[in-house]
Subunit: 354 residues, 2 copies
């Protein structure tokens, strides 16, 4: 029996992605080859990656004459390095909303001056800094749109005259936003895009002109664009799962409809946390993430018992990140409202019995 | 009907890898989750990656107290950068046997002095330089053990007092060699290891002590070792395919037996090239690769017709690399002797009819 999977990532994907990718390993679209053995320079893979790029633009509403789409390797952690090596000529600003921002800042410091223009560290990253004032010219301003670990999320984005760069690993494709406000967006695939092992990068062509440093080929966005993500062998299978998942997003009504469902799922769960004596949320109400819901159990309730009840009911992946503790329920696109209802019922039962 | 796939990479994998990885996407080992949705920090994935490391050591005959095994992202092209950023403190030596060596050299130049201690460029990389004299202390000597594009291969490795580093992307696990002669070995998975998207790195612990430069975390071998390849989300599925393939290698009798089969396959094909008027080999006899067999068609024969005959007989992936032309037949571990026999029969038929 399949588990209800609230993993933070790698995480649940739509059933059609599992089904079609499993079939494609046996044989891809009747071509007599497995998806695992086709050349990345074959006509078939050309079609796959080209379609995946088109769908990325379609889902985000961005224009191909303004934005380039790349499928790279190394995850967001590798983008921390690429962003800074390509665009940190003098000084960059970073908003620190948690672990991932801190890692991005640490890598950027190898390339130039970094100003932490705002930080939520004073309250253990339980809120999103607002009314940020930027007093100097920045090469770019970098944010982490959703904090997977602490469960906070930007619901409004900072206004800036500098190029805006966002790590959207854990909330891309989960909500309708104005993507054109961003000059560079990157996201590890393993939440709402596809299987782990590929990183989506969307980059404004104007920003590319600002690269002044001579850097190794493998780090250069321009190089990867020139080679259309085929500078070296790409993660063929992971890219194929992205295509399957993006097809699913569009068939499900696009991110407008998916956002509605995501809000509904999150409301249901936060409502239970707020109205159930056994639980409390970690994050300021207005900054709560609709993707990663973090919460603790009040002292007079038995945390271990809640865990056991969840396991008995086939629920998986709700332990909080090791640096935070408590619980974390990730509500990515593939999670159904029914799965959340089952969890909420257990929370209610736990309140009565716990 | 499944094609006979002589792709240079991504390339044919054993049927059991296709079968089991396809099943694991539906459900992994009866755990109620797909391989695509398990956490990289789960007990299950811990077992997978730990077993894959153990099998790497078992296949290569290396000891865990001397060598570390990593599963990283970015392919060999990313290792060009990592090797140099970690270990090129002053001067490194590179043997240039073709495109991949040249790319490695270009990236290394960002970090220090590079001496091309030998090169086969004068004869378009159709041979392997021998009797190489190294006149100065090197941080390391770097070679490409097998040239996938030109079809040449080191059958004896250079002797050096410097640490020896090899890009073995296209011939690792294909033959029995003394792996302990090497201080660092890296290989993109997509030929003889597993699905594209993961890079195997084997590194001598003594070499690690020679890293003197402070570098970004994502580039640091020591960092990845400290985090046991889980510094950030790894390519879970690709690593799983590596495990399946390494299990297959050991069940097939290990690389001693696989090497025998690989030699037999290569002999059969080279023998046909040498004895068939229609064809000629590109590479010096003594330096020919047992993995990538490159050849051309003599002028009075119709190359197009040979192509058509192959296609009609369900043979796929034999076009030469775009920078070389002609034909290239890749004989990785998963290719059966029967597939080679079918090709040889077509070559004989072509000679008579062409």
């Amino acid at each position: 029996m399949k588990k209800i999977n609230f993993n933070a990532g790698p995480s649940a994907l739509p059933n059609v992605v599992f089904k079609k990718s499993s079939e494609a390993i046996k044989e891809l679209d009747g071509i007599g080859l497995s998806i695992l053995e086709i050349s990345h320079r074959s006509k078939k893979f050309s079609e796959i990656i080209s379609r995946a790029k088109d769908l990325t633009l379609e889902i985000t509403g961005l224009e191909s004459n303004e934005y380039e789409v790349l499928f790279l390797q190394g995850g967001a952690s590798h983008q921390y390095l690429m962003v800074a090596s390509n665009f940190l000529n003098n000084t960059a600003g970073y908003i620190n909303t948690g672990t991932w921002s801190e890692k991005a800042i640490a890598e950027a410091k190898f390339y130039g001056n970094v100003i932490e223009v705002a930080s939520s560290k004073d309250k253990n990253h339980t809120y999103i800094p607002k009314d940020i004032k930027i007093s100097c010219d920045l090469d770019y301003l970098h944010i982490t749109s959703n904090n997977t670990i602490f469960g906070s999320q930007f619901h409004e984005f900072p206004r800036t005259d500098s190029p805006l760069i966002a790590d959207m690993s854990s909330d891309i494709f989960s909500r309708k936003i104005d993507f054109s406000k961003f000059d560079l967006i990157y996201a590890g695939a393993q939440k709402n895009i596809g299987a782990a092992g590929v990183t989506l990068v969307i980059i404004n062509k104007e920003l590319l002109k600002k690269n002044k440093r001579k850097i190794p080929s493998i780090l250069s966005y321009q190089n990867h664009i020139d080679k259309q993500s085929l500078y070296n062998t790409p993660p063929v299978f992971s890219i194929y799962t992205c295509l399957l998942n993006m097809n699913w997003i569009l068939k499900s009504g696009g991110i407008e409809l998916i956002e509605k469902q995501n809000i509904e799922k999150a409301k249901l769960l936060y409502n239970e946390i707020d109205n159930n004596d056994a639980f409390y949320g970690f994050v300021n109400n207005s900054d709560r993430s609709n993707m990663n819901v973090t919460f603790g159990i009040n002292k007079n309730y038995n945390s271990e018992k809640f865990n056991e009840m969840c396991l008995k009911n086939n629920i998986h992946g709700i332990n909080g990140h090791r640096s935070v503790g408590g619980f974390r329920v990730s509500l990515y696109n593939a999670i159904s409202i029914n799965s959340v209802k089952i969890l909420v019922e257990i929370m209610q039962k736990f309140n009565k019995e716990g």
